[in-house]
């Protein structure tokens, strides 16, 4: 498939996913009701439908669809950028501790009994803080391979944060806080409302826009640092900017949706299969595919059963065979 056709296919996939997601759910909404409610919402005229219909579309299902698109697109873009930055196909956006930091922040918020927005804010701050610490340590330990130092620091700090999460679970009240923490860590968009959407959108769009703006320079990352610098690419600045963009996206996603794995790992591979490894085309394709992919998974999560299926579990169940199939298809080659 030509790169242009691949990008078009990704866009079509996303639009189809949106149509499907808006049309199905636990609350029965006929396509006609859906169209009427949409029309009424857009024109500001009364729809004549029961109030719950409008509420489902504009307060529940709509925000949730947007949140899934944002989180999926952001994580896929961040994963694509990270896989290029670290020259490793097994990297996902949580490599530098953004997820663990955000998770610890949220768990601390639950433990402190903060209101929901407070939990989300603390979570976002935790994700940014964790990566800032990792980056600072990596920068202090100069010498040797800068990228490898960063990866190792990320792994070490991430596991320390994991221990912090474990401690918080241990201290939690087993009747209220522990289930809340457990459900939160499994990932879910069940609670997303309009109020959560704005901060999520701001952070994810800012981070994704930064990554997209850098995509013209990203191809140079496959070269050794000296060669890239000889071509006039400021590798240190580029690396820092990519980390900032990916961290904004990942921390905001985890703050809003809990830990959603696999999207940032699998979708970049799928996008490379569609449009090849060149970043100017690859990054927007991955973002579109990621948005559609997570939206489909979340649609499954909210329609399969009366109770929610945790998102993190579904992405793993869907992502694992998918990834193995990709490996078989590409024979491990990913350049």
């Amino acid at each position: 498939m030509s790169p242009r056709a691949g990008l078009a296919a990704a866009l079509a996939f996303l639009l189809l996913a949106v149509l499907l997601a808006l049309g199905v759910g636990r609350f029965p909404l006929s396509p006609l009701d859906l169209a009427r409610a949409l029309w009424a919402g857009l024109t500001g005229t009364p729809s004549g439908l029961p109030p719950a219909t409008g509420a489902v579309l504009f307060q529940v299902r709509g925000p949730r669809v947007l949140a899934a698109l944002l989180v999926g697109a952001g994580l896929a873009a961040a994963g694509t950028a990270f896989q290029g930055l670290f020259r490793n196909p097994l990297v996902s956006p949580d490599l530098l501790g953004a997820s663990s930091g955000a998770a610890l922040g949220a768990v601390a918020g639950i433990l402190l009994g903060l209101p929901i927005l407070g939990i989300e804010a603390l979570s976002f701050a935790g994700g940014l803080g964790a990566v800032a610490v990792v980056y600072a340590i990596g920068a202090t330990l100069r010498g040797g391979d800068a990228v490898l130092t960063l990866v190792l620091t990320g792994i070490v700090v991430g596991s320390l944060l994991g221990a912090g999460i474990g401690l918080a679970k241990y201290l939690a009240d087993p009747y209220n806080q522990l289930p809340a923490i457990t459900f939160w860590l499994l990932g879910s968009l069940a609670g997303i409302g309009l109020g959560d959407l704005l901060p999520l959108a701001l952070a994810v769009l800012a981070g994704t826009a930064l990554l997209l703006a850098l995509r013209w320079r990203m191809n140079a990352m496959s070269l050794p640092d000296e060669e890239a610098r000889a071509l006039g690419v400021p590798t240190g600045v580029l690396r820092a900017a990519i980390v900032v963009g990916a961290t904004l996206v990942t921390a905001a996603s985890v703050a809003a949706a809990g830990i959603v794995g696999w999207v940032g790992l699998v979708v970049p591979h799928l996008a490379r299969l569609l449009v090849g490894p060149s970043f100017p085309r690859l990054l927007p394709t991955a973002a579109l595919l990621g948005g559609g992919f997570l939206l489909l998974i979340d649609t499954l999560a909210r329609t399969m059963a009366p109770v929610e299926v945790p998102l993190g579990i579904l992405t793993a169940v869907v992502g694992t065979p998918f990834f193995i199939a990709l490996l078989a298809r590409t024979r491990g080659g990913w350049s």
Binding site: R26, A190, V307
Partner: protein, 347 residues
């Protein structure tokens, strides 16, 4: 959890199989039979009891507060203010069962308990844990049934075990009276008139208990139809959309902030139960009235729930009921202002 139809017969379990040499002779020494078939003599005088978890601590406090060695977790000031000051101030000793042990067996032994008391699920998991702790510590371990409907029997057994038969009988009779009162009134309501209720648990109100979950045991006892109870299971997360699809007649919430924000949240505000003002915030002092922890504190919650769901069937003055319950079960009378505060879910 308990109360599952078809479960093995729910004799009170003390180390495996039942246990107390009951019989008419009141002074007969009670024995505990452990799983290996040994008959352990119940200590002639039980003076120090280690509660294995919050449900056991509350059960014991309401019957024999002086025997309670400490609390699984230290009480908060607002909880402490409603209980006997000297007992409420006892130290934090961790939990032995439930989800995750925080008590250290050596610390348990250092407290030199005559008895370890647990109340709650009598599943194999807890039985084996009881046996193991008993083998390691040499302290008799009594596991009582924590099902709300079996509270009277549990009180009687505990009374015999602690040689406090009169107090056990008193609490048992009071518990039976509440259970019977609720059951007979609810029995008059035809099935199709019973309210469909959504239990909104957790900070977002999106956790709920499915059929058979201990968190919503009270709903069954007051004859409410739990909208999430069609499938059995424990705690689960649902979406607002699913709640809108269920369209419950009433909502029972446990988080004050969540309940207060419902009207201002457009997604929830379109619900019939919210529009018609049938959202009930469960009081939480000194212990949760609906759940958390699932112990005898839920008895008073049954009356409250009945009053919320069937105002005509439950004409009694809840404040007076609350004061009577506190005086009898928590051993510390409260005044009208305190009762009103508790009922309002404040504090």
């Amino acid at each position: 959890m308990s109360g599952i139809p078809g479960a093995p017969s729910r004799r009170t379990l003390l180390i495996g199989a039942a246990a107390l040499a009951a019989g008419g002779a009141r002074a007969a020494p009670a024995t505990l039979r452990d799983a290996t078939g040994r008959d352990l003599p119940v200590p002639a005088a039980v003076a120090r009891v280690f509660p294995a978890g919050p449900p056991a601590a509350i059960l014991l406090y309401t019957l024999a507060p002086d025997l309670l060695l400490g609390w699984p977790r230290a009480l908060r000031p607002d909880e402490r203010a409603l209980l006997l000051p000297e007992i409420a101030a006892r130290p934090e000793i961790g939990r032995l069962t439930g989800r995750g042990n925080t008590a250290n067996l050596e610390s348990v032994l250092a407290l030199a308990p005559d008895l370890i008391l647990d109340a709650g699920s009598t599943s194999e998991t807890y039985l084996s844990l009881a046996r193991r702790v008993e083998a390691q510590t040499g302290v008799p371990y009594a596991l009582l049934d924590g099902a709300l409907a079996r509270t009277p029997e549990t009180y009687r057994v505990l009374g015999r075990l602690l040689r406090r038969e009169a107090a056990g009988e008193d609490r048992a009779a009071a518990a039976q009276q509440i259970l019977d009162r609720v059951a007979t009134r609810v029995a008059t309501v035809p099935a199709e008139r019973r309210p469909r209720v959504y239990a909104a648990l957790g900070p977002r109100g999106l956790q709920t208990g499915r059929g058979g979950a201990i968190n919503v045991e009270s709903l069954d006892l007051v004859g409410a139809r739990n909208v999430a109870g069609e499938a059995s299971g424990g705690l689960a997360t649902v979406s607002v959309e699913q709640v809108l699809a269920w369209d419950p007649d009433a909502i029972v919430a446990t988080d004050a902030r969540f309940a207060a924000g419902l009207r201002g949240d457009p997604a929830w505000a379109s619900l019939r139960a919210v529009r018609e003002d049938r959202v009930h915030l469960a009081p939480h002092l000194p212990f949760g009235w609906l759940e958390s922890p699932p112990s005898v504190n839920r008895l008073l919650g049954l009356l409250w729930l009945g009053h919320c769901l069937y105002p005509n069937l439950f004409p009694e003055d809840l404040a007076a009921e609350t004061r009577a319950f506190h005086a009898r079960f928590y051993g510390r009378p409260i005044d009208a202002a305190e009762a009103a505060r508790i009922l309002a879910g404040q504090g």
